[in-house]
Symmetry: C2
Subunit: 447 residues, 2 copies
């Protein structure tokens, strides 16, 4: 097998399962312990994974009673990891709706410098009135508008990252010229949403700029991904759905003139690994038992915009639900959850148990061999370039994946046995981006 799959570890305090913190093994204070995250990253690096990833939103999500709430700012986590690892890629979410392009471009460029070329930015537009109300707004801007703004944000950011030529720093002590000022340029971006003169106050970073990642699977999200993303995280419950998504997104990428290999598609999987299938199922069931159904019912009612009393724990979802058009954020995730509940005729209680593990991502309980089989199957059938591994329980779920599943994938020739590259883009088999201002005409136009 000549082509390797790619593996990202999506890390979330003590695990993706909302009840993971209640297990005896879990440290309920891990979410504010920087060294805990460093140890997780070192475990992922031991497994030769491509990257780790931290989601984020500038708002306190959900009920803090339910699970560890509040998170260290993820570029802070990435930096702490950067200086205590050497190869693993480092991806974090940041919002285009609630950041300034200048500050964010500089922060990710700084992480790229600090990690010697291992930074990645998961670009999100951030839904929800609660987040909007932390930034002077009454409500979240319209979905389409958020994506328009995101596109301009990325445009500004890449111009800033390209505002220094790679060879701008001369460091000529004899002549007393540190940097060739003619190779550092203003970008003079005066657009619909942003006005930024530049240049960035930082030389072009080792990767040129961070890997651009995207995770929204709505229509707007897929169009955005086709245009800008180099890696895509997605939630897919069935092989057929995953294949359709994969084929569709690669076609959209080709349609805008890009090489389909220049975008890597990674569906999420929540592996629950046991020595036997029975042991894995038992852990899954123990976690389900530890969910507080009242918290979960409330969260589900908010997602569906229903009064909480309309959701009966021991009945299926009501017939009359909103459509994706009525939903302002996580549109495709809404549809996926409704389809999952209808397809498998789940009661609300059963649906809550299924979502507890992955909030819509595919949960898979089994032995290490079965997990490896599941990964190989989707990869070989053209449903994925790799996977977004979302351990239900941390650190144990990541340790088991690294120690038990990765060696099987390596033995099958599906996954690297050593890092061959030093940068995040290198791990994903992607080229370092050229500087858009290398073209002299573009340069003149930008001045």
């Amino acid at each position: 097998m000549s082509k390797h799959l790619h593996l990202n570890a999506f890390l979330m305090s003590v695990g993706h399962h909302e009840a993971a913190w209640r297990l005896p093994e879990s440290d309920p204070h891990a979410h504010t312990d920087i060294n805990y995250y460093v140890r997780l990253a070192q475990t992922a690096e031991r497994g030769k994974l491509d990257s780790i990833f931290f989601a984020d939103s500038p708002v306190l999500m959900g009920d803090p009673g339910r699970r560890p709430s509040g998170k260290l700012e993820p570029t802070v986590i990435l930096t702490a990891v950067a200086v205590q690892t050497s190869r693993i890629g480092l991806i974090a979410t940041a919002s285009t709706s609630y950041n300034d392009p200048y500050n964010l471009a500089r922060r990710f460029a700084s992480v790229d410098w600090a990690s010697n070329g291992r930074a990645g930015w998961n670009i999100v537009t951030t839904a929800g009135a609660d987040a909007a109300r932390n930034f002077g707004l009454d409500d979240t801007p319209d979905h389409r508008l958020r994506y328009e703004k995101a596109a301009e944000f990325v445009d500004v950011a890449t111009k800033l990252w390209d505002s220094w030529d790679d060879d701008a720093v001369l460091a000529d002590k004899e002549l007393g010229i540190h940097t060739d000022a003619s190779k550092v340029r203003k970008i003079l971006h005066h657009g619909e949403h942003f006005r930024v003169d530049g240049p960035l106050n930082l030389p072009r970073s080792p990767q040129g700029y961070p890997l651009l990642v995207q995770a929204g699977s709505s229509e707007d999200g897929k169009e955005f991904a086709a245009r800008y993303a180099e890696a895509v995280f997605t939630a897919q419950q069935t092989l057929d759905d995953a294949k359709s998504f994969y084929t569709d997104l690669k076609a959209r990428t080709v349609a805008v003139g890009r090489d389909p290999e220049s975008i890597k598609i990674l569906p999420g999987i929540v592996p629950i690994i046991g020595d036997t299938e029975e042991q894995a199922r038992a852990l899954d069931e123990e976690l389900a038992r530890l969910i507080s159904p009242e918290y979960a019912r409330k969260q589900l009612a908010e997602r569906f915009k229903l009064p909480i009393d309309d959701l009966d724990l021991d009945s299926e979802l009501p017939e009359d639900l909103p459509t994706e058009d009525d939903i302002e954020g996580a549109k495709s995730r809404f549809t996926l959850i409704v389809n999952l509940a209808r397809r498998e005729r789940l009661t609300v209680r059963e649906l809550i148990a299924r979502l507890g593990g992955g909030r819509g991502h595919r949960t898979f309980a089994g032995t290490a061999v079965q997990v490896a089989d599941a990964i190989e199957d989707w990869f070989c059938q053209g449903a994925a370039d790799g996977f977004n591994i979302m351990p239900a329980v941390l650190p144990s779920g990541l340790e088991r994946f690294v120690d038990e599943v990765v060696p099987i994938l390596q033995a099958r020739g599906l996954f690297r046995t050593e890092y061959t590259e030093t940068t995040l883009r290198g791990h994903y088999g992607l080229a370092r981006p050229a500087n858009q201002f290398d073209d002299a005409d573009a340069l003149v136009a930008a001045r």
Copy 2:
């Protein structure tokens, strides 16, 4: 001597002298090397210093030809240092004009968590049209308005930091309650410049919140410092000026109802240390020779709002200069430089040489004993609670200070021989701030 002085190391790539990068010993690429900053911090920690500090501005300052330009974002530097040191305090500048309070409050709280209580925020309002033009504005807002906004920004930030009670996290696995939601509150700040609902998405950090630092010495700046600052960096050229500033700021602090001991005043000093006084002077002169006078003349002309031709290198400053009222940023620094030039009847060339070392801060060339004497003199005469040490050349200037000056100060009983505290506030002898919402009436009002 019962009272110790405090020492902060103000770190700037290869040193504060603008020509430091041209010395044979200097690494002209140090400004983008995270490990370089970590080593500097470890040196400062070896010297038991209270803290290190990184200045910042969200703009490319000055001519990049002149000296290393562009800097890693300072909270990124602080985080890398945090996880590779254990005691040294970590202070960085961030602008209240060009950040959102929610994002900035969270980032500094994250650094406080990552460092186990060692974060400090130097609050600046950021002058200059070039910075404004990176954030959608045509020009810098008026000085007074910037300070009004800064005051509201700090008010919002402290409310966010206090939005979680210290004992909010219960981590009760048995009952399945992670956090007591009644101890996490919205702040519902709807002010003149900011509307932020909160709560912060992070539990209250080890110090409660970062040490609040301030460095502007204008009238607005001093009023702001008296009200909010716990440590103050200031540029003072003479003992008399330093004593006046010290007395004035302590009095202003008392006038707003604060304990004068709750604010620590640290004038800057640029020590140039030699084995003999002659050797120190020789290094100072070598550095002055390496300044490119044309770059420096241009920068000086910009500061004085004069055509460059009005500054003759071999004449004194022109009679007709603007007044502090005409200057939008670094107002008190402007006055200090004019007074220095007039008092010592310096030619423009001589003034440039004097500014090359400290940009207005006091430069002192001498032996380690002479530097220690200078520090002791100002400290004992009531001009300072400590000093902001600004090595002209790094890392050598910091190493010499730590290895040669610190032991003298320790032997004289003026400086700690071991850390006795673990937090930045602890080092400065300051108390951990109470939560403003501990008062039940305030709590109800805020809800």
